[in-house]
């Protein structure tokens, strides 16, 4: 069995869980890491016992024989790095999202692009960029692996197998990712995030929903079922006057030019519907689920929380530093602790599929079409919310 040599691009928080995931995959080995700071790259290499570290991806590609790069860099860098890596003949593993709209090179720092740039214009730019990446990847003949972990989360994979066994039509899907708000300032402005709750959180359930319908179409007709239209509403629930006046805030405030809540209603080309919600204003810990309504079955994947483990504490300090679940505000009362978060979220499973796909020269379950569809559906949804109308997306995706 051929081992895939992987070079990590980035050493931040996400690189930590990618590293933990790669460690569980026999078929791959991380051989180098690179990032803007040579020092931090070296520290990461030491921490994880990696042979080499570099201050740029170009240096890494020039000096080490890697088969694939794992891009764990901010969203606006995905596109240039993906193009450079593909041109060098390297397979690509790319964190979501594929790309987005982050302003123009000459946009002044203080311009709130989420409030000033028409969403239609953003969609056009993003489509151009997606297609540029797609062309490069196709011409280089490399694999593009889209690191949408929901596609690989065990509960969702079980849902897919149950749906396959049932064989009924998937008529409706409901999915959501919400919690009480990202702490990072980068998440709160369009310039760095490329959108609000829908982009940062909604992209997960959206990725899983699109994959499920693609997969259903492939199984049934040999071609994917894709979205035909989207209707979307967004809100800024933390901008409500009475919220602002409250003396204590339990949800994160200070969102700049991005929404803190949104819902997208997709209609697929077979007539089925998906409702995807995302919010940064939801208390009670992260809320990740996907429910599929078939004509002959109903299946729900409670990615988080689920009741694999249930706990109760009469006061919040009792569980000390023990991890409960992402973004839970208190450890007191009844809780649903996540027994093994990386596994539950599908991180090792996605890396295993990527390594196998590269080795076998096949498409990964989460590949370029999904990455592109997610991005274009998201920005079409923003057009819908801004213009207050249903947006046809079949032509955008074509």
């Amino acid at each position: 069995m051929k081992k895939i040599n992987v070079g990590l691009v980035g050493y931040g928080n996400a690189a930590q869980f990618h590293m933990r995931a790669w460690r569980q995959v026999d078929q791959a080995e991380v051989v180098a890491v690179c990032g803007r700071s040579a020092e931090r790259a070296a520290a990461f290499a030491r921490q994880h016992d990696l042979p080499q570290s570099f201050a740029s991806m170009s240096d890494m590609l020039a000096q080490v024989d890697v088969d694939a790069v794992d891009l764990i860099v901010p969203n606006h860098l995905h596109s240039p790095f993906a193009v450079e890596a593909a041109a060098a003949g390297k397979h690509i593993i790319c964190e979501k999202h594929l790309t987005g709209y982050f302003g123009e090179p000459d946009t002044p720092e203080d311009v709130l692009i989420g409030e000033t740039v028409p969403k239609r214009e953003m969609l056009a730019k993003v489509k151009e960029e997606c297609d540029a990446i797609g062309r490069t990847v196709r011409e280089a003949g490399v694999a593009f692996c889209y690191a949408e972990n929901w596609v690989y989360a065990p509960a969702f994979a079980k849902l897919r197998r149950l749906a396959e066994a049932a064989g009924g039509t998937i008529i409706r899907i409901q999915a959501e990712e919400s919690h009480s708000g990202s702490p990072s300032v980068y998440a709160k402005q369009w310039r760095t995030a490329g959108g609000g709750s829908l982009v940062l959180k909604g992209s997960h359930p959206l990725g899983a929903v699109l994959q499920l319908k693609q997969w259903e179409g492939q199984k049934r007709n040999g071609r994917p079922i894709r979205p035909a239209s989207v209707m979307c509403e967004v809100g800024n629930l933390t901008f409500i006057e009475s919220v602002k006046r409250e003396p204590k805030h339990y949800i994160k405030m200070d969102w700049k030019d991005v929404e803190d809540w949104g819902v997208m209603v997709l209609k697929f080309d077979d007539g089925s519907v998906a409702e995807i919600a995302a919010g940064d204003t939801t208390l009670g810990g992260v809320h990740n689920y996907l429910e599929a309504y078939l004509s002959n079955a109903r299946i729900r994947a409670n990615i988080n929380p689920n009741d694999a483990c249930v706990a109760y504490a009469p006061s919040p300090e009792i569980f000390g530093d023990e991890y409960i679940t992402e973004k839970i505000e208190t450890k007191g009362g009844w809780t649903f602790p996540s027994p093994e978060e990386d596994w539950n979220l599908g991180y090792p499973q996605e890396m295993a599929d990527f390594a196998a796909a590269i080795a076998e020269g096949r498409e990964p379950m989460s590949g370029f079409m999904l990455a592109r569809d997610v991005t274009l559906v998201l920005y079409s949804a923003y057009v819908s919310a801004e213009e207050g109308r249903r947006v046809e997306i079949a032509s955008v995706l074509a």
């Binding site: 049934r220 919220v243 007539g271």
Partner: protein, 400 residues
């Protein structure tokens, strides 16, 4: 004061539900004095079964001959408005099943007409006029109007509101849904009788509850209601999908004539908060009725049905025999969540009691004509949104 004498109009499923509510009240508070229905024989059978002294072959005859203080309208949707107006003019208090009114076709409509194909913005105009006529009739007659929206009386929902009031946080987002695997009644499948599909017949419940919640929140905090500002809606016809039609066996109801079998309404309120209201006739697993409120300092969920007050498991479907489990569950096998007392849990008993006591105590019932009307206007604006594929501004629609 003498007991309230109720005349029941209709002798179908809802009438049976209401009878259970009246049965829980003291005879010093209320008596069901008469029932009417077409054909008269059905009314007579219903009267015999429930011990109602008089039965009539229609509303005209009952109003003419029976001595009643109040009418309980448990009739198909298209009959609500004309019966309310007729009853109010005769000086009777009115208890009306949801939804209040709607659009049911032109005056010369025939039963087989595809009424649902009419432009939704025309429907909205008619529905609005019907609402106004009903409100006018009730107001000028000075009678009590009780809106039989059981969700507003459901203990789970009232507990949610009580906790929201105590928490005091802003209600940022409401999610509500009523779905199951399809109405059995044929009139629910034709716009001509139902005035719409899943959204009208099922969605009106969580919609009224959501509108009521924001209404109460506004009154409690600012002395005036918080009302809907815009709606966005998508509808679907899942049972018309090609892949669905090709399936050999159907587990959800089919035969929808000119109405949607699924819908979602996204409401933006004037304070910037949101409600997502969903309704479907294509959902397996028994009825699904819930409302969740996301506050700035709390999160509350009312599981009307199912909830886990009782949980059961049977290795085969015949084990629980004829014991009732929950509305529209397809099998009694496997895990289930049997409803211990559905009428109580869904607020059916409580709505009847409140209506009777409101008349006796000469006060407004908890669920009145305002929310009934607001619900219809939001629903038809939602249909406009789905048809025209655009967000619809509620302000001009809600303006007097």
């Amino acid at each position: 004061m003498a007991p309230v004498r109720v005349g029941l109009v209709g002798c179908g499923f809802s009438a049976g539900l209401h009878m259970r509510g009246y049965g829980k009240l003291s005879s010093a508070d209320c008596q069901v004095a008469a029932v009417c229905g077409i054909p008269k024989q059905m009314a007579e059978e219903f009267a015999a079964k429930h011990g109602i002294p008089q039965a009539y072959g229609g509303l005209d005859e009952m109003l003419d001959k029976a001595n009643v203080d109040a009418l309980d309208l448990a009739v198909p949707n298209h009959l609500h408005a004309p019966f309310i107006i007729q009853g109010a003019r005769a000086g009777k208090h009115i208890f009306c099943e949801k939804p209040l009114t709607g659009y049911f076709g032109p005056d010369d409509v025939k039963d087989d007409d595809r009424v649902g194909d009419a432009p939704k913005k025309d429907m909205l105009e008619v529905a609005k006029r019907n609402c106004q006529a009903v409100v006018e009739a009730v107001t000028s007659a000075g009678v009590t109007f009780g809106y039989a929206e059981n969700w507003i009386y459901a203990p789970g929902f009232l507990k949610l509101w009580s906790m929201a009031k105590t928490a005091g946080g802003t209600i940022l987002r409401i999610e509500g849904e009523e779905s199951h695997s399809g109405s059995h009644a044929d009139y629910a499948k034709r716009w001509r009788f139902s005035g719409g599909g899943s959204l009208m017949v099922k969605g009106c419940h969580p919609l009224s509850a959501a509108l009521q919640l924001k209404w109460w929140e506004g009154e409690a905090k600012f002395g005036k209601p918080i009302r809907a500002e815009s709606v966005l809606c998508e509808t679907g016809n899942f049972t018309w999908m090609d892949a669905f039609k090709r399936e050999q066996q159907h587990h959800v109801r089919t035969g929808w004539y000119d109405v949607e079998d699924f819908g979602i309404i996204v409401i933006k309120f004037e304070d910037g908060s949101i409600a997502e209201i969903k309704a479907g006739d294509t959902t397996l697993g028994g009825i699904r009725n819930y409302l969740e409120a996301h506050l700035s300092n709390a999160r509350l969920r009312a599981n009307l049905n199912p909830n886990d007050a009782c949980v059961a498991y049977a290795p085969a479907a015949d084990i629980f025999d004829s014991e009732y489990i929950v509305e529209k569950i397809e099998t009694k096998g496997g895990w289930s969540q049997p409803s211990p007392d559905e009428e109580w849990m869904q607020g059916h008993e409580q709505e009847v009691r409140d209506f009777v006591l409101a008349i006796k105590e000469d006060r407004e019932p908890l669920a009145g004509i305002t929310i009934a009307q607001e619900t219809i206007l939001v629903l038809y604006a939602a249909y406009v949104s789905a048809e025209e594929g655009r967000r619809v501004d509620m302000k001009p629609i809600l303006a007097e």
